[in-house]
């Protein structure tokens, strides 16, 4: 690890100024991802600006009946918050499915959105990786890509996004609020993560130096019966192979579905949602919805099973939600 300076910010403006000063400064939240990447040499900031002491902590009511989660709220606190559990249970479940109790106590909600991929080639500075070093190539596509993307990847990068929380937030149409020295801004989660294209190193649409201050969950997305299901190679404490956040209104066929582990970002399954709106919620329709979504899949030679798995998971979770719905 390279030497670095450390500052604690107590005002948002101070934090913005310290990072804007350049020198590869980074915001430090829980450090669960950043400190790890500094150890492996993937990240080498000259300065860390600790944002955990900023007044950005906690969950509050939004005017539209939704919730606003402060960026420095820990994953644990967000998952345990009664109103998150009551209105957005899939979000609570998604956070609880991630990492370990210790890591959730450290990680912040803002930092979680910014976590980097767990692609083994990204984590190893001696391997080619366009995300880490633009133009260096992608070793995964010709190499080991058993757990890489099947949707929306490009020949420049097939890495997946690792966050469980972000998958649920994508399903709930969360909006990311941020601050810059030029003033505040917001990004719907659907626009927060740009498509990979030929810029896999550009992982978010945040302006340079921006600090995430909060994530708003719209009142229109309140779904007390939403569900998060995660499939992985260990029963716990492992990144997703495929995961799904879903809620389903059985009366209207209105559904919100997002997939994790299949793309460079949380994958909002809008094709599946469209199929569900078209007709009665039968087993056939669930299968048709899943097929519609996965028709766009382009698996690599070593990860075709993820297409099957994602398809099955969509059907399984929709079936479960339909079965659980009050008559």
């Amino acid at each position: 690890m390279k030497e670095f300076a450390y500052r604690r910010a107590t005002e948002v403006r101070d934090a913005l100024t310290l990072v804007a000063a350049g020198d590869g400064a980074r915001y430090l939240g829980g450090g669960t991802n950043l400190v790890d990447l500094m150890k492996t040499g993937v990240e080498a900031p000259a300065r860390l600006v600790d944002v955990r002491f900023l007044p950005l902590d906690g969950v509050r009511e939004a005017a539209d009946g939704g919730l606003v989660i402060g960026a420095t709220t820990t994953n644990s606190d967000a998952a345990a918050h009664p109103e998150v559990r009551r209105r957005y249970p899939a979000l609570s479940e998604a956070i609880l499915a991630g990492a370990s109790g210790q890591l959730r106590n450290m990680a912040t909600v803002g930092g979680n959105l910014l976590q980097r991929t767990r692609c083994g080639y990204f984590a190893d500075p001696s391997q080619a990786c366009n995300k880490r070093v633009p133009g260096s190539g992608c070793a995964a596509i010709a190499g080991e890509h058993h757990n890489h993307a099947v949707l929306g990847w490009s020949r420049h990068c097939a890495a997946t996004h690792a966050s469980d929380m972000a998958v649920a937030m994508a399903a709930f149409d969360a909006v990311v609020h941020y601050e810059t020295l030029d003033g505040p801004g917001e990004l719907p989660l659907a626009e927060f993560y740009p498509p990979v294209g030929d810029t896999p190193d550009r992982e978010t649409a945040l302006p340079p130096g921006a600090l995430i201050t909060a994530i708003a969950l719209p009142g229109s997305a309140v779904s007390p019966r939403s569900r998060y299901r995660k499939v992985r190679e260990r029963a716990s404490y492992a990144f997703a192979t495929v995961s799904i956040a879903a809620d389903l209104d059985v009366r209207t066929g209105s559904a919100r579905i997002a997939l994790g582990g299949v793309a460079s970002r949380p994958w909002r399954a809008r094709r599946a949602e469209a199929v569900l709106r078209e007709g009665p919620l039968t087993a056939d329709r669930f299968r048709a919805a899943a097929d519609a979504e996965l028709s766009a899949a382009e698996p690599l030679p070593g990860n075709g099973y993820k297409v099957t798995l994602a398809r099955n998971l969509i059907v399984a979770v929709l079936t479960e939600l339909a079965d659980r719905a009050p008559a």
């Binding site: 690890m1 030497e3 670095f4 300076a5 450390y6 430090l28 829980g30 450090g31 669960t32 400190v35 790890d36 150890k39 300065r47 860390l48 600790d50 955990r52 644990s76 998952a79 345990a80 009664p82 559990r85 009551r86 249970p89 609570s92 479940e93 609880l96 499915a97 990492a99 370990s100 109790g101 210790q102 890591l103 106590n105 450290m106 007390p224 995660k230 029963a235 716990s236 404490y237």
Partner: protein
């Protein structure tokens, strides 16, 4: 030497105040082990992937290998060395010994600190990934073996002491929370 990259920090560990000159790169784990001489917390992976370095930070379990020492300044740290009272083992420690909740012992301090933090989380009503219904209106999850296993999964044990650890945690749970 104090500059941008090094500095003196004050760490509160097991109710004792320590002044340490640290490199900003120093993790809380290394500060505990190399700086203060508390070697009970173990470095199993140094990457947040095994849990052997788990300590309590303001009462909450964290991995000390991904916590920078400078970032822990101002927090109350409890390590395995501070878990027991004067000479007396805590119930959870006693049950680990009685039920053989370890073999090589390397993951043990992390398992113990994690268990103490986990029991407090459960007592506070936090759900887990195996809780059937996370709604606050549903009954609070009973602390059964499945809940303990899920909540303790951040602590790997290669000797395979898991079943004994789960038994020890369940056996000590009531006393730990009441105490």
């Amino acid at each position: 030497m104090t500059d941008d990259t090094h500095g003196e920090i004050v760490l509160r560990v097991n109710d004792v105040t320590h002044r340490l000159l640290v490199d900003n790169r120093t993790t809380l784990l290394d500060a505990l082990r190399e700086g203060i001489g508390h070697t009970g917390s173990k470095k199993g992976c140094d990457r947040g992937q095994c849990g052997a370095c788990t300590v309590l930070c303001d009462g909450r379990r964290v991995v000390s290998c991904l916590t920078l020492a400078v970032a822990a300044e101002g927090a109350e740290i409890t390590t395995i060395e501070g878990l027991a009272g004067d000479g007396e083992l805590r119930p959870i420690q006693r049950e680990f010994v009685r039920l053989d909740g370890f073999q090589c012992g390397y993951c043990t301090s992390g398992q113990l600190c994690s268990a103490v933090g986990m029991l407090a989380e459960h007592a506070a009503g936090w759900p887990s990934a195996v809780t059937a219904d996370v709604s606050p209106d549903a009954p609070a999850p009973e602390l059964d073996a499945a809940e303990v296993r899920e909540r303790m999964s951040g602590n790997l044990c290669r000797c395979g002491a898991y079943p004994s650890i789960v038994r020890a945690v369940l056996s000590a749970a009531r006393e730990e929370v009441a105490g």
